[in-house]
């Protein structure tokens, strides 16, 4: 350490790096705002030395914001980080490293084409200009001897299995002599076997008093088998803390979800006669990396019904929606619409009147540099009146756009503006106008339709979806927002690990059971 530091800080640092035991970490009434959104509201957390501490919460509860504030990625608007009872300002991950705090991210941060040894040396904050490889290898081999798990030094990272890559990420932090390890959903890319192995080995280090761990997890199984304490956040606020041994899984689920919420009352037309519109039979599909994302789901959605699919992100719901939207092939199983096999071709979409509101509409359903008018006619440009034979009729395309811009109140300078120039809410309105305006719509697939939008827009979208349902449209609504699902759905299904784990009529839904099945119990 060559930099000049004041004596007290120096003492603290030598305490941290000299001692074997990890320091104590406290977060005191931390608040972080992003514009008008309060992501963290007066949150405190106490990570005792040599404990395994889980940070729990639903999507958007503020867990990632909290750890990013600790790591110095974000500057908190209010609040303190105490290390061994001294207030410390952490302005960057380099500062965090100085106090012995290291983080392992959800996604791998190693360079695939470089070897394990090269990646370890690269991760050092004091990388030398000239690397003395012989000496580094000696150090690294000595380090590997003492490390809790072994990864071959000479193998390019690209050739390692996911579990080994995750071990390398953790080894990196140990190599950097981090005493406090922050893990952000470290097992989301691992198989359950790999996850148990990695967490078990870390657990041993904690038990030996060499490490403290703060883990963000959605999986109660991991929390109950490896953790000592939990802290729960809900909607940016502190929701509770306690020892794992004192708490049952349903206690934890209740802390995460809050008190039982009554589904918000909305006006729904009751249908006596129900016709199955969408049927899924033993549907399987893979993730981008070739692992299976959806393991054989069976589902029927009827006309005039909203079926809500709840789940923590990454449990197969995105891939399921992509299959239904025609963006991803199913590996096996069948999709039937109105009793006929459906392969998401344009003619089938038109015949069965299938429409989709995907998440991230600009990325999934719009061509950013094409005009609002062109994007609005994406479903109909090849049919009269917008086309005559193979020729486009610009006037008809434009007239339709002017109409939809008016009735859906899309704020656009003109129908010819590229859709990428509109605000997020107006892009969403554009897609909504295209997908919901046809009277003939029979089936709507919606995925997180309100993500990132303001309250007025959320209400508007909800009313549009309900209005479609009341018109007799069959709706499959996939959402990470449980409140939204409870408000809109007639039936609610929980997806976990690519399978349906729970199903119930919404008015009879058991709240604790939903929470537990979301967390894989």
């Amino acid at each position: 350490m060559t930099e000049v530091i004041n004596p007290t800080e120096h003492d603290v640092l030598s305490d941290i790096h000299g001692a074997i035991a990890p320091p104590q970490l406290e977060v005191v009434s931390m608040t972080k705002r992003f514009g008008s959104l309060v992501a963290l509201d007066n949150v405190s957390l106490h990570l005792k030395p040599a404990t395994f501490h889980a940070l729990l919460g639903e999507n958007g509860a503020g867990k990632s914001t909290l750890v990013k504030c600790i790591m110095g990625f974000y500057r908190a608007d209010h609040g303190d980080v105490l290390i061994n009872q001294h207030s410390r300002s952490i302005a960057s991950p380099r500062d965090a490293h100085k106090y012995g705090i290291g983080m392992v991210y959800q996604h791998f941060t190693s360079v695939p084409a470089m070897t394990v040894a090269e990646n370890l040396v690269l991760s050092r904050f004091d990388s030398p200009t000239v690397i003395h490889w012989k000496q580094e290898y000696e150090h690294l081999s000595a380090f590997m001897e003492t490390a809790p798990f072994k990864v071959p030094l000479n193998v390019p990272v690209g050739q390692l299995a996911a579990g080994q890559k995750q071990k390398l990420e953790i080894l990196k932090q140990l190599y950097l002599q981090s005493k406090i390890l922050i893990l952000d959903e470290p097992t989301s890319v691992l198989t359950p076997g790999e996850a148990d192995e990695v967490l078990g080995l870390i657990r041993e280090q904690v038990t030996d008093g060499k490490l403290s761990v703060l883990i963000i997890s959605h999986k109660f199984r991991e929390v109950t088998s490896f953790c000592d304490e939990i802290t729960v956040l809900r909607k940016g606020k502190f929701a509770g803390t306690g020892f794992v041994k004192d708490l049952s899984v349903s206690d934890m689920a209740e802390m995460m979800m809050g008190e039982k919420r009554e589904p918000q009352k909305v006006e729904k037309v009751a249908y006596s006669e129900v016709i199955p519109v969408l049927e899924l039979k033993e549907l399987h599909t893979n993730k981008d990396n070739g692992l299976e994302a959806v393991h054989g789901v069976n589902l029927t959605v009827h006309s005039g019904e909203i079926v809500g699919i709840a789940g923590i992100s990454g449990n197969g719901q995105r891939e399921l929606v992509e299959v239904l939207a025609g963006q991803r092939p199913a590996t096996s199983g069948q999709i039937l619409i109105n009793g006929e096999v459906y392969r998401a071709t344009r003619s089938e979409m038109f015949k069965h009147r299938v429409f989709v509101l995907p998440e991230e509409p600009l990325k999934n359903a719009c061509v950013a540099h094409m005009s609002v008018a062109e994007n609005l006619s994406l479903r109909t440009f090849d049919r009269p009146p917008q086309a005559k034979g193979i020729f486009l009729i610009f006037k008809a395309i434009r007239d339709l756009a002017v109409n939809l811009i008016g009735s859906f109140k899309i704020k656009a300078p003109s129908p010819d503006t590229p859709v990428g120039n509109l605000s997020g809410g107006n892009v969403q309105r554009t897609v909504l106008a295209r997908e919901l305006s046809p009277d003939s719509i029979k089936l709507l697939i919606a995925a997180n339709p309100c993500f990132g939008l303001d309250f007025a827009m959320v209400d508007y979208i909800h009313s549009q979806i309900l209005e479609a349902r009341n018109r007799g449209v069959a709706v499959l609504l996939v959402s990470e927002d449980l409140d939204e699902l409870l408000k809109l759905s007639d039936r609610i299904i929980v997806i976990s690990g690519g399978q349906f784990a729970y199903e119930s009529q919404t008015e009879k839904a058991d709240f604790a059971a939903i929470g537990q099945s979301m967390a894989g119990h």
């Binding site: 025609g326 344009r346 979409m349 094409m370 090849d382 486009l392 006037k395 010819d416």
Partner: protein, 399 residues
């Protein structure tokens, strides 16, 4: 601004096509390539100065030998004709987001297809015997040429369609595969003219048999420009309409802009990819046919004259707009045709024109990174009203 949204829409409808475009965008799309051309001229001038030549004399000579007289302009148009067609081989797939540079290969394959069809229809055999050579078939010249054009179109089209299919079904990088297929096409041609379809009477340069004079593509009266120029012009106009005005073009632009959006709309992305690639290759194939039928009369290594590679440059400079391709092809055709004059008059190497072309290529590629960087071309941020507004809430300055 005192227009209500309704009147704005009315005006927009009245102006039709024109109002669909933002003039600043158009100005940018013209100013940047023109600026890049001027900048590369300056760089080329510096190069000439290093060679000990007066840059202005060189500029003057290029202008004179490319555009200075009707006679020299004919030479320019002669070279522009194949460039228009080979440019489409890059410009069309670019609208689908594919960067295809297999123009030279498709041109060669088109030439091979055309000579095969031409010889078959004229003599009944690709390697006619001396007796067959005496008996030209009775098929009218127009019929033979039509057959040659079709063969060229199909041969070039299939060649690039393979690239598209590899791209879509096997995720093979289309730029690399199309580049490598150029070498395959040229090697295949050398192999064929050196053996299987060789004309034994030709001893200097291994060549195929020649087309009979009567079945060649003729020149425009009193010029040395052949009708292939019209092939180029017509193909560019058709390509423009196909992309901008038809449902096929709309689907292709959608898939090129965002393949996920195209899939959600159920568009057959794979079919579109292969079809666009076929059309692209068929244009270059037609260029090969015109070169064979009008210029060479047979196939030999002279067919590989670099029109394919220059076509890539034309497409880049034209920003993949087929109509702009015609103008740019004339411009670059002029530069190509001035190469000989530079050699003869200023005693500069023949490759000087290629140096200039290379400079243009680099500067144009660089200028791509400048789009959206100049404030002059940005639309001023106007207050946006949500149409339709009730009259009372209209707060725009009244007239």
């Amino acid at each position: 601004m005192s227009k209500t949204p309704q009147s704005r829409i009315w005006i927009a409808n009245g102006l039709g096509m024109l109002s669909r475009y933002n003039w600043r965008k158009i100005a940018e799309a013209i100013a940047l390539p023109v600026g890049a051309l001027l900048f590369s001229l300056i760089l080329f001038g510096i190069f000439c100065a290093f060679c000990g030549k007066n840059p202005f004399a060189v500029y003057g000579l290029i202008y004179k030998s490319a555009f200075g007289s009707w006679r020299s302009f004919q030479g320019t148009l002669l070279r522009a004709a194949p460039l228009m067609l080979t440019a489409l081989c890059t410009a069309l797939p670019a609208r689908l987001g594919l960067m295809i540079i297999g123009n030279e290969g498709a041109l060669v394959m088109g030439g091979l297809g055309a000579i095969a069809a031409g010889l078959l229809l004229s003599y009944g055999s690709i390697t006619p015997s001396p007796e067959q050579l005496q008996n030209v078939s009775g098929i009218p010249s127009a019929g033979v040429l039509l057959g040659m054009a079709l063969a060229g179109i199909v041969a070039g089209g299939l060649w690039i369609a393979v690239v598209g299919a590899l791209r879509h079904y096997r995720a093979v990088n289309e730029t690399i595969s199309s580049l490598l297929m150029n070498y395959i096409a040229i090697a295949l041609m050398n192999h064929l003219v050196g053996g299987p379809i060789k004309d034994p009477g030709e001893t200097i340069k291994a060549s195929s048999f020649s087309l009979p004079e009567m079945n060649r593509l003729i020149n425009l009266p009193t010029t040395r420009i052949h009708y292939g120029l019209f092939y180029g012009l017509i193909a560019c106009v058709i390509a423009y309409f196909l992309i901008q005005r038809t449902t096929f073009g709309f689907a292709a632009r959608t898939a090129g802009g965002n393949v996920k959006a195209a899939r959600i709309a159920g568009l057959p992305v794979g079919k579109l990819t292969v079809m666009i690639c076929f059309l692209a290759g068929s244009c270059a194939g037609l260029a090969g046919m015109a070169e064979v039928a009008a210029v060479h009369g047979r196939v030999n290594e002279s067919l590989v004259a670099g029109y394919g590679y220059t076509g890539i440059l034309v497409a880049f400079v034209a920003r993949y707009n087929p109509i702009a391709c015609t103008l740019v092809a004339v411009l670059l055709g002029g530069i190509l045709s001035s190469g000989g004059a530079l050699q003869r008059t200023l005693d500069m190497p023949d490759a000087t024109a290629l140096v200039f072309q290379g400079l243009v290529f680099l500067v144009i590629l660089f200028s791509e990174s400048l789009y959206g960087r100049f404030r002059v071309f940005k639309e001023p941020i106007a207050p946006i009203a949500a149409p339709p507004l009730p009259p009372s809430s209209s707060t725009t300055v009244s007239a």
